[in-house]
């Protein structure tokens, strides 16, 4: 087991390295104009551009630029090209917002998905089952920013039930204000996943419901409730938990960029969206690495947990 964990962690480091190189290359090799040209502005002289090139190190070879940039990422001295702010500080400011959104939404979609999945499995074939299936499919077919914009406008601005976007610090306006600001973003983001989870759980439950050990549990005289929750659900949940780990990583790592932007939460994803518009390479690079880190981390955790549960995986 120890060797498996070490191998996975080593693989994680290599993948992160590859991601950082690729992201760096996207902006340095693909022709999109010199960053020095953009920083100098439209009415600049070649001398000014040369000076900026020297100052920021754009005249150095690409690999030297890569190494210095990565050093700055590591030490937290990475500076934005567009507005000269500290990128690492900006990301740190966005982290609590992104985490609040991702964690709340992930808990919501897990709870809702499980509840609906179990409910539809027990009602398989009836009209409630069909109804939930249809709603689930509609949920996964909607662009999240569209749903978010409609919810924010009609429930927030027009009906005045919720605030019209924005983030509220717990320390400033209290817990209730924070929750009020987060309810719509949580719900909208979770809507995308609830459908998938309930459908996966439903099919898992239907697969296990006829297993011998379930029949044994019934034969022992256990209540239906106990059979469903302790025997059927417990086994059906394992694949869901795996899925949840991967999706949670994806949402933390930039998957919530659209939700953040549409609700103006000022999280890490929105910082990315704003930076890319200005072709500001340092924040784009840093946020991509930030996102890749969580995706790879959650992937690795899921694999390790799986290997701990199933010896066949770590030996293969």
């Amino acid at each position: 087991m120890g060797r498996f964990v070490i191998r996975r962690l080593f693989g994680m480091v290599i993948v992160m390295f590859a991601v950082s190189v690729l992201t760096f290359l996207i902006f340095n090799v693909i022709p999109n104009g010199d960053p020095a040209d953009r920083m100098a502005g439209k009415n600049s002289t070649p001398v000014q551009i040369e000076a900026i090139k020297k100052e920021w190190g754009f005249d150095k070879p690409v690999y030297t630029q890569y190494v210095t940039t990565m050093e700055k990422v590591a030490t937290g001295d990475l500076i934005s090209y567009a507005n000269q702010t500290n990128v690492v500080e900006e990301i740190k400011r966005g982290i609590p917002r992104t985490f609040a959104l991702a964690i709340g939404a992930a808990l919501l979609w897990f709870a809702m998905g499980t509840a609906l999945g179990l409910y539809t499995a027990m009602r398989a074939g009836r009209w409630t089952d069909t109804l939930v299936t249809v709603l689930a499919l509609i949920g996964v077919s909607m662009p999240v920013f569209w749903l978010g914009a409609l919810a924010s406008y009609y429930l927030g601005f027009k009906a005045g039930i919720f605030p019209n976007g924005g983030y509220s610090e717990i320390g400033e306006a209290g817990l209730w204000e924070w929750v009020k600001h987060m309810i719509l973003p949580w719900t909208v983001l979770a809507t995308l996943f609830v459908g998938v989870y309930s459908r996966v759980l439903r099919s898992n439950v239907l697969d296990t419901i006829n297993d011998d050990y379930v029949r044994t549990a019934r034969a022992k005289g256990l209540t239906e409730r106990r059979v469903m929750i302790h025997h059927v659900l417990r086994n059906s949940l394992i694949p869901i938990v795996t899925l949840w780990g991967l999706d949670f990583g994806a949402v933390l790592g930039g998957g919530a960029i659209l939700t953040e932007t549409v609700f103006d939460l000022q999280g890490v994803g929105q910082y990315f969206a704003e930076s890319i518009g200005q072709l500001d390479v340092p924040p784009v690079l840093a946020v991509t690495l930030f996102g890749a880190f969580f995706i790879v981390l959650l992937n690795t955790v899921v694999d390790i947990v799986y290997a701990a549960l199933d010896p066949r995986i770590r030996l293969s």
Partner: protein
């Protein structure tokens, strides 16, 4: 956005014995015919498959409607007026508020802030959105089948290189990668050898979406090839002297068909959603070219004065993606009732 199997971790082959059809009750019926029969019995899937075809037909008929409306998708009517129920109305008022749906030939679904006909743009936008969705899904399928088959068939070094590259792609936050590539390529264009793509071309989002999706399909294909290559029929072909190319094309590829068919509608749906997301963030289709994503991006900021600019393209998009998802579900149930393919976006 990820396609993952629900029952195994990402390192295992998600659809490894996929394509196995339950024993046919009638020995004379081929698995394909059996699947078709099952699909034909699924009325919801057929209805939504038909709806998708209608939507494609509408997109193809865009110039006809443009003729009826007497305009083009890019033509501004800022200072024009239109007569509705005997009343003359400004297409765009002096406050900059565009006309709502008139339900007449002109400005059937209203106008946007430039005075452009929303219905005409919606249909031309459908062409772009559907083109990008379908072409990107084709690119994804081609690359994924190629890479997955090579990796699964040759194993060893080939597999190591392909699989590790896919691991890196898998680690990328999909949207961030797509947006970064989209913005950077939209400015500079793309040059691969003799192939040169202009900065504003819709081929750029198409290629990005196509490449980004490869990771989801290549893994299941590889897993399936790994198990198929050990089967007796492949051994028989090899014993007859068939080379790797022949085995891959005439022995393995037909057996991958059901996996490809199951994934394809879902890939198209997902590509359309990704196009919308990229365009919303300014990294997809470039203005003035319409697509549902760009129309939404323009509309959302005007939600308070002109909700039709958000609701109309959004509903069209949801309808299209929904029809593909339901049809894809039906195809999956027909081909492989026990498979657990899923596709999800974020």
């Amino acid at each position: 956005m990820s396609i993952a199997d629900s029952s195994v971790s990402s390192d295992l082959s998600p659809v490894a014995d996929g394509g196995q059809i339950e024993a046919a009750p009638d020995p004379g019926v081929s698995p394909g015919a059996l699947a078709l029969r099952r699909l034909r019995r699924n009325r919801a899937a057929l209805a939504f498959g038909g709806l998708f075809i209608v939507l494609v037909a509408l997109a193809l008929a865009a110039p006809l409607w443009a003729d009826v409306a007497g305009t083009t998708p890019a033509k501004n009517h800022l200072s024009d007026t239109v007569v509705v129920d005997g009343k003359t109305q400004q297409v765009v008022t002096f406050d900059g508020v565009p006309i709502s749906p008139t339900w007449r030939d002109k400005f059937f679904l209203g106008a946007d802030t430039n005075g452009r006909d929303v219905a005409v743009r919606l249909l031309y936008g459908a062409r772009n959105s559907l083109f990008i969705g379908i072409t990107a899904a084709l690119i994804t399928t081609f690359l994924a089948v190629l890479l997955g088959t090579l990796a699964g068939y040759f194993r060893g070094w080939t597999d190591a290189i392909i699989s590790r590259s896919l691991d890196v792609l898998w680690a990328f936050p999909v949207l961030l990668l797509g947006v970064a590539l989209g913005v950077s390529l939209a400015l500079g264009g793309l040059k691969i050898g003799p192939l040169e793509i202009q900065g504003g071309s819709k081929w750029i989002p198409t290629l990005i979406i196509g490449v980004v999706g490869v990771v989801y399909l290549a893994r299941p294909i590889r897993g399936q090839v790994l198990s198929l290559r050990e089967k007796e029929f492949v051994e028989a072909a090899r014993a007859q002297g068939a080379g790797p190319v022949r085995i891959m094309f005439s022995e393995l590829l037909p057996n991958l068909a059901s996996t490809i068919l199951v994934f394809f509608p879902l890939l198209v749906a997902n590509s359309i959603l990704l196009e919308a997301a990229l365009s919303f963030l300014g990294a997809g289709v470039q203005p003035p070219e319409p697509s549902w994503g760009t129309m939404l991006a323009d509309g959302i900021v005007l939600l308070s004065t002109s909700p039709h600019l958000t609701i109309v393209p959004g509903l069209m998009l949801v309808l299209t993606v929904l029809s593909l998802n339901i049809f894809g579900d039906g195809v999956r149930d027909a081909l492989d009732p026990r498979a657990k393919v899923r596709l999800e976006h974020s």
